[in-house]
Each structure stands twice: as structure tokens, then as C-alpha cells.
Amino acid sequence: MNRTLDAEAIEAGIQELARQIRATLGDEPIALVGIRSRGDEVAERLCRVLSEDDPDLMLGVLDISLYRDDYEHLHENPQLQGSEIDFEIEATRIVLVDDVLFTGRTIRAALDALCDYGRPGRIELAVLIDRGHREMPIQADFVGIRLETSRHDHVYVSLEGTDGEDKIEIKPA
């Protein structure tokens, strides 16, 4: 059976993420880095909320296309869009942001990509949705929405800025 989450649920998820991150804000410089695509939009929306607490909050975008582990299985390589990391990454606290945490492979790739820019002070992970079924020892520090899914379900995330509307659909395989 299909399940959907609406715009209100997504907004609540973003507010929940913001609340969790806000509780950890200190004096150190912090940067939100969103993973293309849609992680960048989640990071942008989080940044809008959190910049009231920390006006110096930095924002970046990471394209992990060149760091994937599944080229062999792809008919065509993913379209490269590039990263935008315009701040000094050295010794900075980085919060990686993505829309869905599933197998953990994207995050593995993102960690590699990020570390090629320098040596961050530390890296944490914030995800709008954690749907479980990890294939790697990776966990999120901040989670907006926890979703019960089975391994083969498809989770489709649409976001206002990227897709024109806020919606999450969970479809069984």
C-alpha cells in the first residue's frame, strides 16, 4: 500500500532537524553542506531557519557523482553538476545534509568527497528522513523523520524548490 507524507510533515521534519542542531550550537564555525540533489535544498531550508541563531552559518553544496561506487551498474554516468564549497574547510565543523538516509553509500561517498577539500574539524550527519536498511556502518546525528520501510520499498521525495511541491511517497516494490 502506498503511503504519503505532505508538506506539513516535511516542514515539521525540517523544524525538528533545526531544533536538534540548534541545541548543539557553540562558538565554533559551522557549515551546512547539502548533497546534490535535494540534500542541497534541505540544507538551504535548514540554513534559513538556523541563521537566526547563528548569522555566520555557512552553506555549501556537494556533488558526489565522481565518488560513487556503482559506475559498473549504471548505463550512463550521472550528470555532473559540481560542488560549491566556498569556505575554508580546515578545522570547520561540517554538518552534511541529505534528504534520505538509506544504505549509507551516498554518505560514504560524501565523506570521501568532502575530505578532498581539506581536513574538517569534524563531520556530522543530518537527514530529513531515515528509512533504515543500512549497508554500511553509518548513522545520522540528526534525524527529522524516522520512516518504517521494508528493504525494497521506494521512497520518493519531492521538494518545493527542486520539484515544485513538498511530498514524500512510499511505494512497495
Partner: protein, 311 residues
């Protein structure tokens, strides 16, 4: 639709050209990072098969492949001036056994890369075949042109020199025109194609060509080692008639004309010494862009896939 080989630009759809050029932008951005390498082609092998000498193209491909984390092997080609079809076939069989993923090939004979491509599942990239094509040169020139003119439509480019025997002219002219630029040739009548493509003007007189109003002047290299020498009385004469002399450099500067050259420059032939420091020279940028564009080509091709039926 993934493509296996890059043999000539005429095979590529406009969207494929745009995609390669667009993706070269993020590849170029990597050059400013402390780590310039990405793991995209980790574990893949690139074989350099150069039957003709080349320093620039060879090292550009090698750097591009290494920045993608591929392993690069140089295949030592026998230095015989004529390599027969038979032995090339044997070479390809050897390469097949080596299970290489990409083959970058340069050969004096037109069509040879295409022949190799048909016999292997590896992706074959033509790095120059005879007077036929040099597609990655065309792409890197297009990328460089777009950095100066994001929309090249209607921009005027004058290609100067031995257009007839130049694979660079062929590939670069092809892609510039497909991006909408207007192209004209300038050179000795004997070195211009008798029947140029429609819409390409031909000039034999420098002043007439300048009156056409080019915004970019693309100088072809005089091929000392090839046939060019017999077509004009002397290199000094070539410089006087078609080269960018000191006086002409001042005129280019005055009119804000950009300068391109595929390298390596024959100083005192295509260009005077002073032109090396010309403010609107794109020559060094072409070299840097060549790496980014070749990374984009390697990343875009898919070994083992089929080429579109149009090839």
C-alpha cells in the same frame, strides 16, 4: 544514451556536445582544490597508443586520466614511419587481451581509430588521425570560446593557416559552427579547401580578412614536419603574409581580438615573440581547459556500450 567511442565530432548530437562542455566546468573547478584527483575511474585502465609524436595531447590525456584515478599505460609503438594495417590489428588483439577500458589513439592515417574501435569493447578516443579529425581539440577550443563568449552564436572566428591539411581546423570549425559561431578561413589559396563548407568564407588576403571583423583569431600551427613547407617560399615569408607580426599584434589589441592556437607555437612563424604576452591570448587557457575537457570525455564515454546507429 551512453556512447562508447569518440571518433569525430560530426557523430555527436548537439546535446552530447553540450553535456561534455557543461561537465568540463566542474572538472576544471577541481583544479583549485588541494586534492585534484577524484576516484571516478578508479581501477580502470587507459592505454595511450600514439603512432605519431605528440607531447601536448599525450600529456594532457595522461593528466586527465590520472586525475580520474585511472591507470595509464603507454604502449610503445615501433618507430617505423608506416605501420601496416596488419600490425595494427595484431596490436589491437594484444590490447584486447590486456582488458584495457579506454584506448587513446593517434595515427597518421585517417580512419584508423574507427577501425580499432570496431574491434574492441574498450572506448576508443581519437587523439588525431591524419588530416581527418581531432575531436578533443575541437571540444577544448569550444569550451575556451564559451568561457569568453558564453553564447558563441554570431561571433566571428577567423581560422588562419593550412586549413586544408589540418584536422584541428576540421574539428574546431565543425564544433564552432554548431555552436552558432561564424567561421572564415585565411591562408594561401593552395592551403584552403577548394570547396569549403557552405557559409564559410575564404580569404587569402590578411587585410580583407580583418575587414570581415573577426572577434577571435585562431592560428593553426605550421606543420614543419609534414607537408606545409613546400607550399610557401619560406617561413619568413609565411610570417610576413599570414603571421601575427608586431604591427598586427597592435591592431589585434586595438580591436580587442582574442587569440587562439592549438600549440606548440612556432615563434616567429605564426606569432611574433611579443604575442606570447598578449593580454587576450587564450593559448595557455586552451592547455588547462584541455585537461578538464578530456576528463569530461573520459567520464562520459562508457566502455562496452554501443554507439548510436548514426556512427
Amino acid at each position: 544514451m551512453a556512447r562508447k567511442d569518440l571518433l569525430e565530432l560530426a557523430h555527436l548530437e548537439r546535446e552530447e556536445i553540450d553535456r561534455i562542455l557543461d561537465q568540463a566546468v566542474p572538472f576544471k573547478e577541481l583544479f583549485t582544490r588541494s586534492v585534484k584527483k577524484v576516484p571516478a575511474l578508479k581501477g580502470k585502465s587507459v592505454l595511450m597508443l600514439f603512432y605519431e609524436p605528440s607531447t601536448r595531447t599525450h600529456s594532457s590525456f595522461e593528466v586527465a586520466a590520472k586525475r580520474l584515478s585511472a591507470d595509464v599505460t603507454n604502449f610503445d609503438v615501433p618507430h617505423s614511419s608506416v605501420v601496416k594495417g596488419e600490425s595494427v590489428r595484431e596490436t589491437v588483439e594484444t590490447l584486447q587481451a590486456m582488458r584495457t577500458d579506454y584506448i587513446v589513439v593517434r595515427h597518421g592515417r585517417s580512419g584508423l581509430p574507427a577501425m580499432i574501435a570496431r574491434q574492441t569493447r574498450a572506448s576508443v578516443i581519437n587523439a588525431g588521425d591524419g588530416a581527418h579529425a581531432h575531436p578533443t581539440q575541437g571540444l577544448l577550443d569550444a569550451f575556451t570560446l564559451k568561457e569568453v563568449f558564453p553564447d558563441p552564436a554570431g561571433r566571428r572566428v577567423l581560422i588562419v593557416g593550412d586549413v586544408l591539411h589540418s584536422r584541428v581546423a576540421r574539428s574546431t570549425c565543425n564544433v564552432f559552427r554548431r555552436l552558432g559561431a561564424e567561421v572564415a578561413f585565411l591562408g594561401p589559396g593552395s592551403l584552403l579547401p577548394k570547396h569549403g563548407a557552405e557559409g564559410v568564407r575564404r580569404f587569402t588576403d590578411y587585410r580583407e580578412a580583418m575587414a570581415w571583423g573577426p572577434e577571435v583569431m585562431y592560428l593553426l600551427r605550421v606543420q614543419m614536419e609534414r607537408q606545409d613547407v613546400q607550399y610557401f617560399p619560406s617561413l619568413r615569408e609565411y610570417h610576413r603574409v599570414y603571421g601575427v607580426t608586431r604591427e598586427r599584434l597592435a591592431e589585434l589589441d586595438d580591436k580587442g581580438i582574442w587569440l587562439m592556437h592549438p600549440g606548440p607555437v612556432n615563434r616567429g612563424v605564426e606569432l611574433c615573440d611579443e604575442a606570447m604576452d598578449y593580454g587576450r591570448s587564450l593559448i595557455n587557457r586552451q592547455v588547462e581547459n584541455g585537461i578538464a575537457v578530456r576528463m569530461s570525455v573520459l567520464y562520459t564515454l562508457k566502455p562496452g556500450s554501443e554507439n548510436p546507429a548514426s556512427d
